[in-house]
């Protein structure tokens, strides 16, 4: 195998791309609908390689998310750690689901994350008072099958050595 250790840079690269998509400028009307790229990538890798990923990775990524969106430090970190934990716990069941059921599960995880973030925003008096806050949930669920297939191909191509 040409790159049995290729995963060392391939997996971080997927996260970097996800982060870039998270901060890439969108037109005003589309900005609230931006899918939760980083969270989806985290969910995929936690479910695909549950032994390699832990809540710590999720927490660290959450910190990056906090800083890049200007949120309170720890806000997304808490949500991401929760997502990573649940994905690892659920991976055996969800991995065999058909894609649309997977999308629903992912939606559930993301809803939990968004709820945690909203709750903390509310406590610090910065809650966005609009239903559009939940828009990423819809766009993420719609896009999940594509994200899944794409990342699965990435895993099959470069990360075979991992389990």
């Amino acid at each position: 195998m040409s790159g049995s250790r290729a995963w060392i840079w391939v997996i971080p690269l997927t996260f970097i791309v996800a982060l870039a998509l998270t901060v890439a400028p969108l037109p005003d009307w589309a900005a609230p609908w931006r899918p939760e790229w980083l969270a989806m990538t985290l969910i995929y890798w936690s479910m695909a390689l549950p032994r390699r990923f832990g809540v710590g990775v999720g927490w660290g990524l959450g910190l990056l998310m906090d800083v890049s969106t200007g949120a309170l430090l720890g806000q997304h970190a808490l949500g991401f750690a929760l997502i990573a934990y649940l994905s690892i716990r659920l991976h055996q069941r969800v991995r065999v689901f058909p894609l649309w059921q997977q999308a629903l599960t992912v939606g559930g995880l993301l809803a939990l994350h968004l709820l945690v973030v909203l709750w903390i925003s509310g406590m610090t008096g910065r809650a966005p008072g609009t239903w559009l806050y939940w828009a990423p949930l819809v766009s993420s669920m719609i896009l999940w099958p594509w994200v899944f297939v794409l990342l699965r191909d990435v895993r099959r191509r470069w990360c075979l050595a991992l389990s």
């Binding site: 969108l26 900005a31 609230p32 806000q75 966005p128």
Partner: protein, 286 residues
Amino acid sequence: MVRLALLALLSIGLMWTDHRHNHLQDFRSAVALLVYPVQAGVNLPVQAGAWLLEQLRSHQTLVEDNRRLRDKQLRMSALMLRFEALEQENARLRELFETSSRLRDPLMIAEIMAVDLDPFRQQLLINRGRVHGAYPGQPLINAQGVVGQVLESHALHSSVLLISDPSHALPVLVNRTGLRTLAVGTGNPQLLELRYIPPAEDLEPGDIVSTSGLGGRFPADYPVAEIIRVERIPGEPFARVEARPLARLDRSREVLLLAPVNGTPAPKSEDLFQEPADNTAEEVTP
């Protein structure tokens, strides 16, 4: 499970410290530096596009631009001649009154990075950081008016809170009448709300409000907004006054950072949000 609980506790600790105190600024800046390459990378195509556009402009347009700008420059310098005389006269008069004031503030040009933050908050990133001398609380303007202030300055870039953010309050005065009030953000980049104005006050749509300099953060007399609607509701203690920021907050690409007043250190950024409100609330209603 144990690790999740530990990390959750850590998050709560972090959030609490971040919300109540400012100790985490350095840590935050360190993480921000980690994210910066990604943000700069996202910004790059936009920058490259602008550069390419500049390269592709025809000779003809450049010559025309050049002529137009030279005309403008000439007209501006003619105006400046009188301005300089006025400035000196003003300084003399102020000396008579023994007050001090500066009319010209040193500036630093910054570029807005094409990077999105939380869509529900009015924030921006600019490509000037601590290395260049940006500090939290530093006022930002553009050619049309006040834009906002630096919220956090990281090593190479800073985040900016726009005057249209709901947590931002700016002490202003109405140019025509001298009435002091607060311009509070609404979350809509096209709309500010002027607070605590008694219904009997003389205000009309079209009045310009500018900074009053009362908060101690923004220098006085920079234009902020134009009043677009005055609504006096019978029985309410204050009128509802809406204003449109003069600086096109959602359009401009370049902003100007005002340098600190005569090298005096920036005001402590402890209560960035409450400070203007606390200082001026009582002075608003005479």
